[in-house]
Amino acid sequence: MSLDKKQFLQAYRTMRTIRDFEYRVSDEFGKGNIPGFLHLYAGQEAIATGMCMNLDDDDYIVSTHRGHGHCIAKGGDVGDMMKEIMAKQGGSCAGKGGSMHIVAVEKGMLGANAIVGGGPPLIVGAALSAKTLGTDRVGVSFTGDGGSNQGTTFEAMNLAVVLKLPAIFLFENNGYGEGTAAGYAVGSKDIASRAAAFGMPALKVDGADIFAVYETCKKAVKHCRSGKGPIAIEASITRFRGHFEGDAQAYRGKNEVKRLMKEMDCLTIASASAIKKKLATKAQLNKIDKEVAEYIDESAKAALAAPGPDVSELLTDVYSSAY
């Protein structure tokens, strides 16, 4: 049931790709090559990876303002994403969306959402399509601890239960919504049991442990595919970066980030445990690291070199046909 050798290497590669991608866009942001706001997923890689490895291309996910990791894990094209974030031609959204609206529709990644709590109702709709059209697809909404408190999220969970839809509400509890602690803002303190109160099973998992995330998500997907209705997962995790790039993070404790980066790094934990379980060798992992680094570098260079969109595109795609 757990990750085999091949799967582990795939998981590791995905996590490493997300991490390198995030650090590269952080650098490029620092150099002024990325306009707008940037929210990075560094530290949370195991969650998107462990979930999406259990999904097929035609299953659906919806994401948040912190969506790069979800998009990569669902198979989104890294080159296109890099271009989008740099506002270039050939970007995932043709340069019209940006980081907060990263998308890979062809891979079932229905879009990142800059409205906190915007996603959960949408995934109920995707699950409704799956059920109505008689496919066995499932829909997953990635939502933060902050987003878990929105009314839209509560309404979406209730509707999914009422209609018995194949929806997974995956809550990534990274401890903060901007500069407010989850321990303050989540009144019940426990996102999973609150979800359970809506009438669905709810699981909890250590979000830094790719093996545990993978197995928990596997159970959830099986539950949904077999027509048993929605299910929730709360994955506990931390974020390595500020809420947004440039966040001074004065609300975090002294040395907190440093400590958590040491204790809760999904990549370090995964490599140590895989080597111990003989799922991978150090050399194999190093090779992946090198390949990923090159791949990210190529994507970034291509994006930097690409031209921006032409202003003639300003009014295209507002409607489906000439207006």
Partner: protein, 337 residues
């Protein structure tokens, strides 16, 4: 007189009113920041730092950090306003109006009328609007038109630090629900702002430049662009009246009409989309009430009819620029029947 930024002026208005009136509270997401955290409380003071320092002075019973829950924030503010408090509720970005609009337009705006004058709703919604920061389709909108069309709401769009302070104090003392729209481009701008408490009445336009050839009306930051254009054109001998209505509801129709009666030409600049916007509204008022004075068709300079694009070149093309305003002024001046 001391020079203060728009951010400081707004902060000072809140602090002074909170000192004067213990029923004034501030409520919203990260208005202090750091709730439940190990680090600094008041770590943010609002995402733009506008409420910074209020928490240390007034404490957690009056500077209230909430979960991410806009509907409940606005509803709670409305309910509290009905029962003795004067909440200043923060809606971080005006785009999030979509999440909480019912509590504002079906509830707060309607209490007084719907309950036969027996209820009131003295609350302020402070919110931040405006494009140009590459925030994309859901973090850049100015939705002033959506609130201006609602009877029962008052709508304020301060365009400089002096106005921001006086208008916010008026808003806090007002007995109706006031939407206070801060332009995110202006937080760092500064001008002379008295330390004393003062109020600026709603419905009184400000004439930023006086001229006789063309009237330019601007809303929010576009009025500052209009001033820059007027100053440039003045060198060519073209003189413009530049009017900042300061509040879109109530609207100082008289000031605009009087100006058009002198100039005969009107350009309205508005960063919102063109359909059913403030520019369209003012245009219809002038066409109806000052038709005889017009010597050229009214020109609206607005954003394009599309969501706000992310790419800088597209966003710049989307929103009204000084060059668009200048062209419109030249067009109305050059118009012949």
């Amino acid at each position: 007189m001391p020079i203060k930024t728009y951010r400081q002026a707004i902060n000072e208005a809140m602090a002074q009113e909170m000192r004067r009136d213990s029923t004034v509270i501030v409520i919203g997401e990260d208005v202090a920041g750091g709730a439940g955290c190990d680090g600094d409380r008041d770590a943010y003071g609002g995402v733009m730092g506008v409420t910074k320092g209020l928490f240390p002075e007034f404490g957690e019973s009056r500077v209230i950090d909430t979960p991410i829950t806009e509907s409940a924030i606005m509803g709670a503010a409305a309910g509290a306003a009905q029962t003795g408090l004067r909440p200043v509720a923060e809606l971080m970005f005006m785009d999030f109006l979509g999440v909480c609009f019912d509590q504002i337009y079906n509830q707060a705006a309607k209490f007084r009328y719907m309950f036969g004058g027996k209820a009131q709703c003295p609350m302020v919604v402070r919110t931040m609007a405006g494009a140009g920061l590459r925030g994309g389709a859901q973090h850049s909108q100015n939705l002033t038109q959506m609130v201006t069309m609602v009877p029962g709401l008052k709508v304020v769009c301060p365009t400089n630090a002096y106005d921001a302070k006086g208008l916010l104090i008026t808003a806090i003392r007002d007995n109706d629900c006031v939407i206070f729209v801060e332009d995110k481009f202006l937080y760092e701008t500064s001008c002379e702002v008295p330390d004393e408490i003062y109020t600026i009445p709603f419905g009184e336009a400000n004439f930023l430049r006086e001229g006789s050839d063309v009237t330019i009306v601007g809303i929010s930051n576009t009025v500052n662009k209009a001033v820059a254009v007027a100053d440039r054109l003045a060198a060519e001998g073209i003189s413009c009246d530049v009017i900042d209505p300061r509040t879109t509801s109530p609207l100082d129709e008289e000031a605009i009409i009087e100006s058009v009666e002198t100039t005969g030409r009107l350009v309205i600049v508005d960063e919102m989309t063109p359909r059913c916007g403030i520019a369209a509204d003012i245009s219809s008022i002038v066409a109806e009430k000052a038709f005889g004075a017009l010597r050229a068709p009214i020109r609206k300079v607005t954003a394009a009819h599309s969501p706000i694009p992310f790419a800088p070149a597209l966003e710049d093309a989307w929103m009204p620029q000084e060059s668009d305003i200048e062209q419109a002024v030249r067009d109305v001046l050059g118009y012949t029947r």
